[in-house]
């Protein structure tokens, strides 16, 4: 009967370690070389942990942003119903359902990242302990044994630590693949939002539902203009007349203007 999964995998790891071991004439050199590799790997693991944390935070922000957007659409749907526009309410709720689906998706990703982060932290601590133990063993072996004697002593420590490094290295790679995937996904969500497919979260350009609601309840453009002019004449020095014009109906937009702009900035810098 051929080897099963667990035997084959251990053989693969062992052959990898043996290849590295064969590269050096004096086995004691392999100890120093391996130690150097271990330190490099530790650095990489720490960076990996930081990268996963960054991705997780980005997903968190996007979820918050989408949540606000969903709340806003719900408010719009209610407003539309009050004004007897069931068609608009339906449109708003349809968009809200779309956003809920995106949030559900992101939440699954978020949980995976959280798990990965915890695993990496745990593995990094274990590796740290092993590297320290290896350093001590390495000095003992080098001080006590001749090159020929060292051979046997080194075998176990070397394949043991290679296996650990292989395992941690794979975990890092998986984490990197996952964060790359998420970056792509996060950008896709950003693009959807920017294109208006998920509605416009920036609050700068008003979406069509808001516009229609405003047209309905403001009593027409003339009233709007009059109000705006009055405001200007009274010295109100409206810094953002285009936003002031929507006063009274675009309340749902107002609260997230600043936070959304910040979120977008953060997202772009990440």
């Amino acid at each position: 009967m051929a080897d099963g999964v667990m035997k084959r995998m251990s053989l693969i790891f062992k052959s990898k370690a043996n290849k590295a071991l064969d590269k050096y004439e004096d086995p004691r050199e392999t100890l120093d070389y391996s130690y150097q590799k271990q330190m490099e790997l530790l650095q990489k693991v720490r960076r990996g942990v930081a990268d996963v944390a960054t991705s997780r935070k980005r997903v968190e922000l996007q979820m918050k942003k989408l949540q606000q957007e969903g709340d806003k659409l719900e408010g719009q749907a209610r407003k539309a119903l009050e004004l007897g526009r069931e068609d608009l309410a339906r449109e708003a709720l349809t968009r809200r359902a779309n956003i809920s689906a995106q949030i559900g998706d992101l939440n699954a990703q978020y949980e995976q990242l959280q798990g990965q982060e915890e695993n990496l932290v745990r593995q990094s601590k274990a590796l740290e302990a092993k590297v320290e133990a290896f350093r001590t063993q390495k000095e003992t072996i080098k001080a006590t044994y001749t090159a020929a004697q060292a051979q046997a002593q080194i075998g176990e420590a070397f394949s043991g630590i290679s296996e650990e490094m292989g395992d941690v290295g794979m975990a890092i790679q998986r984490a990197q693949d996952k964060t790359a995937q998420l970056q792509a996904r996060a950008s896709a969500v950003d693009e959807l939002m920017a294109s208006g497919a998920l509605d416009d979260p920036s609050g700068l350009a008003k979406d069509d539902i808001t516009r229609q609601l405003e047209a309905l309840s403001s009593g027409g453009a003339v009233d709007d203009q009059l109000a705006k002019m009055k405001l200007e004449l009274s010295g109100g020095a409206a810094a953002k007349p285009e936003l002031e014009a929507g006063k009274g109906t675009s309340y749902a937009n107002k609260s997230d203007e600043i936070s959304d702009a910040d979120v977008l900035k953060d997202g772009g810098a990440a």
Partner: protein
């Protein structure tokens, strides 16, 4: 004997657990070869669960190669197949 579950660490098990593990491992291998997702998921969960149940963690300061190595939990069928077909996936 020592068994490593990738991503989790090494566990020490009694030698006589091997028969039981081999049986579960054969089921896993068969599922991988057949490319059968359902049986694969079941076999992975059973084998990893058994190793966790019977094993005690090897202290982290001990540096020893494992007798057996298992894929990490939630590995996909494709990932395991790739792992077995080459050593290209193990960095370093």
């Amino acid at each position: 004997m020592i068994v490593r579950i990738l991503g989790e660490g090494q566990l020490v098990l009694e030698k006589q657990s091997l028969d039981e593990l081999n049986e579960l491992d054969n089921a896993l291998m068969a599922a991988v070869e057949a490319g059968a997702q359902g049986p694969f998921d079941e076999a992975m969960a059973a084998l990893l669960g058994k190793v966790r149940e019977l094993g005690t963690p090897l202290p982290v300061e001990e540096i020893k190669p494992s007798d057996f190595i298992l894929p990490s939990a939630h590995s996909s069928l494709d990932e395991v197949r790739d792992l077995l077909s080459s050593d290209g996936l193990i960095p370093g």
